[in-house]
């Protein structure tokens, strides 16, 4: 096996074709593959169909850069560092993007269905809300529901046929071409060990046709196999691995580094307009590779974010 799965960040980003459907690891402002996302922007991807359990800075970067055509999810923002996704909001206003809204649990269950090979999930969440307003099927309105990679319907109501539980809603499994996970450790053969909450990473990985893992470090496979009970994802579900320390910055990584709140605050404040976003991209994305990005951030900033290895976060005092 050896190092056959190991590729460069540039090669990894080239695996995402224009028009691909894509998803990521993490949760809001934690463990997002930002270094990978910046490489997608450098490669000027277009027509991405982004399907996320929840969004975050990675969504905002890709949407601001004009890479995304369709976003299916439930939430985007920067938590307390920026209350909503200003780039997405702007492009909804100008109709440069199609947004399909589901609830958070619905998105999770859609990934769970895909990860278990089921065509759809059944739930009782969000009944009576506008998420199920038939007028608000945005992919349907856009004529994108081909029944192949996009489900024929946004949802279907049914009555529980087994126990008379009442109304249920059937929601389609997601169809994802590529999942990109950003984690602490991956073995040379692809075994993943996530530290801390694993969010929806196992489902995102198994749901996708191709999974790329971007890790803080690639470790000997044998090391991870000594304690298989601590591993999150089996080797064969991972197709490619990339080593990239601080690859989630400015989002945080349990046990390694905290969220760079100041970076996100600045991004949120300065990218309300397209000109603002373009200036951000010029400064932080184009013309830099990951090492140059880290050098620009500087040691002082990165050391301040570095987690205490006993606490798994950087204590405030």
């Amino acid at each position: 096996m050896g190092n056959s799965k190991r590729i460069t960040m540039q090669a990894a980003a080239e695996l995402v074709k224009n028009g691909s459907s894509l998803t990521f690891s993490g949760f809001t402002i934690w463990r997002r593959p930002i270094a990978f996302v910046f490489e997608l922007i450098r490669q000027k991807k277009t027509g991405i169909h982004l399907i996320e359990v929840n969004g975050g800075p990675q969504t905002e970067f890709l949407v601001g850069a004009g890479c995304v055509d369709v976003w299916e999810s439930c939430w985007v923002g920067h938590e307390l560092y920026g209350k909503y996704g200003a780039n997405l909001s702007r492009k909804v206003g100008t109709k440069e993007i199609i947004v399909e809204d589901y609830s958070h649990a619905e998105m999770m269950f859609r990934f769970s269905a895909a990860a278990s090979g089921a065509p759809y999930a059944v739930t009782q969440t969000s009944l009576g809300t506008d998420i199920h307003n038939p007028e608000y099927d945005m992919l349907g309105r856009a004529g994108r529901r081909d029944g192949k990679r996009v489900a024929k319907k946004k949802y279907i109501f049914a009555e529980d046929p087994f126990f008379d539980a009442g109304q249920v809603v059937l929601i389609p499994a997601v169809k994802v071409d590529v999942a990109v996970l950003c984690v602490q450790q991956v073995g040379e053969e692809g075994t993943v060990r996530v530290g801390g909450q694993y969010y929806s990473d196992p489902e995102a990985c198994r749901a996708a046709d191709v999974t790329i893992v971007v890790a803080e470090e690639i470790v000997p496979e044998e090391y991870l196999r000594r304690n298989a009970d601590q591993n999150t994802i089996p080797s064969f579900e991972v197709d490619y691995i990339v080593e990239c320390p601080y690859g989630a910055h400015p989002t945080g990584m349990f046990g390694r580094y905290d969220v760079d709140g100041a970076f996100l605050k600045d991004f949120y404040a300065n990218t309300r307009t397209q000109e603002g976003f373009d200036a951000f991209a010029k400064e932080w994305v184009f013309g830099l590779d990951h090492i140059a990005y880290l050098e620009k951030l500087g040691w002082a900033r990165m050391l301040k974010l570095r987690a205490n290895t006993a606490l798994n976060y950087s204590p405030r005092r």
Binding site: F27, T28, I29, W30, R31, V53, S73, C74, W75, G77, E79, L80, Y84, G85, L88, S89, V92, G93, D101, S103, H104, A105, E106, F109, T123, Q124, T125, S126, L127, G128, T129, D130, I131, H132, N133, P134, E135, D160, D164, A165, G166, Q167, V168, G196, Q197, Y198, Y199, S200, D201, E203, G252, G255, V259, A307, L311, N312, Y313, P315, R316, R317
Partner: protein, 273 residues
């Protein structure tokens, strides 16, 4: 119970935090959102509800964070937790009906407790796209009680919200969109609904039969008429109990010395110059 603080000793965020913390009961399983609710729940844990169990949406179950997390995905959440997992666990636990109480927020609310966090204006041509639902409708669908914490402005307490993101007591039955009591839609999943709205003007509750919001208490310094005038819908003020109880000195000490000493969510009260 220590004595109540006088008005110059606390600010509005303190008042909201304390009012919110009083909604939680001991031994309950509580779904915690980011921000002020997190401080409120942890305040409850350190006062009248030491045995409450905290669930973070990102996957931490029965967490006991020693330092305030800045979001539910935060590494701080899982320190001392019973289990660290993922969203599938958190939402399955909610759908299983194990959650007693959830704390939520919103941009707009109507008289039935329907809340909007998705957009302002027509969804198809929005004036402003907001964050979207997050787990708001899920927690609100499955918890026995939910508490909303909101900024009180007339443009937010509306006759009809721009978009029903999260279900109140009377919701829309699709595909037609007729208003029905949520009991009629949720079948076996029905356990309750919004139990309180804690705004910057007062505390509101709901008549579970007709689904209407009513004023329970108004905050110190406000009047019933003032609160009524801050709602676009006709607010029921027939059951007002009086003023919202202020924070106690002990609650203020816990908030500012123990839970949020760095003023991440709750600013310290600045004496007026």
């Amino acid at each position: 119970m220590s004595e109540y603080a006088s008005p110059e000793e606390y600010n509005l965020a303190d008042l909201l935090c304390c009012a919110a913390s009083r909604e939680v009961r001991n031994n309950e399983i509580v779904f915690a959102g980011t921000g002020l609710p997190m401080v409120a729940i942890m305040l409850g844990q350190k006062t009248h509800a030491p045995n409450l169990k905290l669930i973070f949406e990102a996957g931490t179950l029965d967490g006991r964070p020693p330092e305030l997390p800045t979001s539910v995905g935060d590494a701080r959440c899982e320190t001392g937790a019973s289990r660290s997992s993922g969203l599938n666990d958190a939402f399955s636990i909610a759908q299983r009906g194990l959650v007693d109480l959830g704390y939520l927020g919103g941009a707009e609310i109507d008289k039935y407790g329907n809340v909007n966090t998705t957009c302002i204006g027509n969804y198809l041509e929005p004036d402003l796209r907001l964050t979207g639902s997050g787990g708001n409708p899920d927690i609100n669908s499955f918890s026995k009680r939910t508490v909303f914490i909101m900024v009180h402005e007339k443009r937010r307490f509306v006759e009809n919200v721009s978009y029903i993101t999260s279900p109140g007591w009377r919701v829309k039955k699709w595909p037609g969109g007729e208003w029905v009591h949520r009991r009629e839609l949720y079948g076996s999943a029905y356990q309750g609904g919004p139990s309180a709205v804690i705004s910057t003007a007062g505390v509101f509750r709901f008549d579970e039969h007709d689904g209407h919001m009513y004023l329970d208490t108004y905050h110190p310094g406000k009047t019933v008429e003032e609160v009524k005038s801050l709602c676009q819908f006709d607010l029921d003020v027939s059951r007002v109990k009086g003023e919202t109880a202020p924070p106690t000195r002990e609650e203020l000490r816990i908030i500012h010395e123990v839970l949020d000493p760095d003023e991440i969510f709750i600013p310290k009260n600045k004496p007026k110059a």
